[in-house]
């Protein structure tokens, strides 16, 4: 359903019928021709009116009115759009209220969100007894609009919302669907600067929709750190499965070549056995297939602190400390003390920090060696 307006207690569908940026006037019309004016207090600029944009509805728990960010693709260091909270589009009190670039994108964000709102996006039914509504009232307070300028994209610079999910989740942004944003459990700080940099999932992986689904639909509404850890570990499972597929193919090719040479065959089989081990593949993942691009020291500190508190041996390498935590959570959760929930929460937070880089740099050719 497009914009829902309450009329005598019933919800009536209204669609955008006119958008006049110079007067900041947006007109909605119902099927029977009744009209409602959408009020916006900003002096919008419609000079981008004829340009080509894509619109995505996002939500972020406790989003602030000043959470207005220019969206950059990290690898290309190129601005491709803006993320704007709904509340900032209905207010002239924030720092961007008179920013000429913002006002151009704000016009597009309002027009496109009114145009693209449908029954698959959570929205409010608005009372319009005086024929006017406040733009922000249409949406939940946690809603934000991501506007991507297609003109900034090219064959080399593509934008894919599913491939961008890990970076958005890292800052607390979740794709808005029908779920009431009040159910969001994910709370993350916004970027420190005015830029929000996105690293997209590598083209080596074709499971971006699955990853996006796990993060947006399950992880974001999960409160328990144990289940959050479990869900994030699924992404590591997915990656090390890919590692296994590539490694196994290479070893089998090698085995065929050394057929008849029992020494080399034994060596090859040993490699295959090693490759079957989940822990080894976790090591290979970061050593050979994907550098996270950020330091692992905090993750190491939090994992080892938890291991110590659980009476387990600490470790230096990623595969050792991470796998030990994984083993305890998966196999010994019954012994997990409530007091350590915050430690596990810290680990989950750190995993969210490193995941965008790992997923973006994953390369099946294995050329991503340290």
């Amino acid at each position: 359903m497009p914009v829902k307006i309450l009329c005598d207690g019933c919800e009536v569908e209204y669609r955008l019928s006119a958008a006049n940026g110079n007067e900041s006037l947006f007109l909605l019309q119902s099927e029977d021709g009744s009209e409602v004016i959408v009020e916006v207090p900003l002096a919008l600029d419609n000079s981008f009116s004829d340009k080509n944009f894509e619109t995505h509805f996002l939500c972020k728990r406790d989003i602030k009115e000043s959470d207005i960010f220019q969206v950059y693709l990290k690898d290309h260091d190129k601005r491709v759009g803006w993320i704007i909270p709904i509340n900032a589009l209905s207010s002239s009190l924030h720092d961007y209220a008179e920013n000429e670039h913002f006002l151009k994108y704000a016009f597009i964000a309002i027009r496109e969100s009114l145009r693209h709102l449908n029954g698959l996006i959570f929205s409010n039914a608005v009372d319009s007894s005086d024929g006017r509504i406040n733009f922000a009232d249409i949406f939940h307070d946690f809603t934000a609009i991501l506007i991507i300028s297609r003109e900034t994209l090219s064959e080399d610079v593509q934008f894919d919302i599913h491939r961008s999910t890990p970076s958005l989740i890292r800052y607390g942004y979740v794709q808005l669907g029908l779920t009431n944003p009040d159910r969001l459990m994910l709370i993350k700080d916004s970027p420190d600067s005015e830029k929000l940099k996105i690293e997209q999932i590598s083209q080596s992986l074709n499971s971006e929709e699955l990853i996006s689904g796990i993060l947006n639909n399950s992880f974001s509404v999960e409160a328990s750190p144990v289940f959050k850890f479990f869900l994030l570990y699924q992404l590591f499972e997915l990656l090390i499965e890919e590692v296994y597929r590539v490694e196994q193919t290479a070893i089998v090719d090698e085995l065929i070549l050394v057929k008849g040479d029992s020494g080399k065959m034994k060596e090859g089989l040993e490699k295959l056995r090693e490759c079957l081990s989940e822990k080894s593949r976790l090591g290979l993942l970061l050593q050979k297939y994907a550098q996270p691009g950020v330091s692992l020291s905090e993750l190491s500190r939090h994992c080892n602190s938890l291991l110590k508190n659980l009476g387990k041996e600490e470790a230096e390498s990623f595969q050792n400390y991470f796998y030990r935590v994984r083993n305890f959570v998966f196999h010994q959760y019954r012994d997990f003390p409530d007091t350590e929930s915050s430690s596990l929460e810290n680990i989950v937070d750190e995993l969210l920090e490193i995941l965008p880089g790992i997923l973006a740099r994953f390369d099946v050719s294995g050329s991503n060696k340290l």
Partner: protein, 388 residues
């Protein structure tokens, strides 16, 4: 014209007459109403099909639903004599208001203009002679009009919220209270003199006082507002209370303006922190967020018996002290800038901040009593502890 029914509405204390009238007579009564009426709502762009259909129906002498009018002054007429009422109505047509049926009236007027332009005299005479029913409330006061519009009007194009609020308090615009001048948006002037306030901001502040809530007025509580005003009106305090509110607001703001003089935040502060909420004291305390915060704060302090009446404020503010105006301006801006960066809704956060600010400033039990700089800090702390 024929009076078909004559009833008394005890809820809004007004006589209601159901009258049969020709479209020709109706046109004479309402032509000026569409031009002059202070309550007049704009003509909305609505379904062309529906009104085109109505025009066709009128040509076929269709009976349309009754149009509801109000006569805002009380008129003398013989209730058994139709002509006496017609004369009274004609003499007082400047006081007519259309409560329900504005779009129907526009359609009638348009149709008559089209028929005159086309020279189709036969159709014109037919329409002019068509009868319609009108209901007229006689001697309905402003509150009654608004109540009637909000509760009984089922039309699709009611007044905007701002118009409703302004209408509720319109009588106060022309009253001079303590030398204060209230400026309406429609006046096209800016409230930039010390004694000038935006009418809309003061109304919001008074409403915040009545509701003990600093947040913007929503549609739902307009009706509650009418109820509270009616109650106040019964106690004959209505006008006095608004005057007291405006006077205490002006007293507080004037004192702060007097203490800060022409002081402004330093250039260094602006370089470090960016654009401030307000460079000088007037730019800070005369904003709607501050006035609403003041209203809610005073209301709450009276509820908690910190203040006995609004008159106490005049005494309290006399002793407010500011040693370093620039330091105070920078402190309050610092708090407001923090809210700007950290609030879900900046406007609401600022209103809450000012509520705490004025509560601390005017409360003799508070550590920040009569100290604006201390109140700037404590108000932010209180906001943070409640919202973060």
């Amino acid at each position: 014209m024929r009076i078909a029914s004559n009833l008394y509405d005890s809820r809004i204390h007004s006589r209601n007459l159901l009258v049969e009238i020709t479209i020709g007579e109706y046109e004479l009564f309402v032509n000026d109403v569409l031009e002059k009426n202070e309550f007049q709502r704009r003509r909305v762009r609505s379904s062309k099909t529906v009104y085109a259909l109505l025009k066709e129906d009128l040509l076929k002498q269709c009976i349309i639903p009754p149009i509801v009018l109000a006569l805002t002054n009380d008129v003398e007429f013989d209730q058994d004599d139709d002509e006496s009422f017609k004369t009274a109505l004609t003499q007082n047509k400047d006081h007519l208001v259309i409560l329900d049926g504005l779009q129907r009236t526009y359609t009638i007027v348009d149709l008559l203009a089209e028929l005159r332009a086309s020279g189709d005299d036969e159709s014109l005479q037919k329409v002019l002679g068509t009868k319609l029913r009108i209901e007229i409330y006689v001697g309905l006061n402003r509150l009654g009009i608004l109540y009637r519009m909000l509760t009984l009007n089922t039309g699709q194009t009611p007044m905007s919220l701002r118009q409703q609020i302004e209408m509720l308090y319109l009588d106060y615009v022309s009253k001079e209270i303590d030398g204060v001048e209230l400026i309406r948006e429609a006046d096209g002037r800016v409230a930039n003199k010390p004694n000038q306030y935006n009418f809309k901001d003061v109304i919001e502040g008074f409403n915040a006082y009545l509701d003990r809530d600093e947040l913007p007025i929503d549609k739902a509580n307009i009706l509650e507002n009418i109820n509270s005003l009616e109650k106040l009106s019964k106690e004959n305090q209505n006008s006095e209370l608004f005057e007291k509110f405006l006077s205490s607001l002006n007293s507080t703001i004037s004192k702060l303006v007097e203490l800060c003089g022409d002081s402004e935040v330093s250039e260094m502060f602006i370089d470090e922190h960016g654009s401030p909420f307000g460079k000088n004291i007037s730019q800070i305390v005369k904003k709607p967020q501050s006035i609403s915060g003041f209203g809610a704060a005073v209301g709450k302090m009276i509820d908690f018996e910190v203040l006995k009446t609004m008159d106490d404020i005049h005494i309290v503010v006399k002793e407010i002290k500011i040693e370093d105006p620039v330091a105070f301006l920078e402190e309050i801006n610092d708090s407001l800038l923090w809210l700007k960066s950290n609030s879900k809704k900046i406007g609401n956060a600022q209103r809450s901040f000012f509520t705490f600010f004025f509560r601390d400033l005017l409360n003799h039990d508070s550590d920040s009593f009569r100290s604006p700089i201390k109140a700037s800090k404590s108000a932010l702390r209180k906001y943070q502890s409640l919202n973060m």
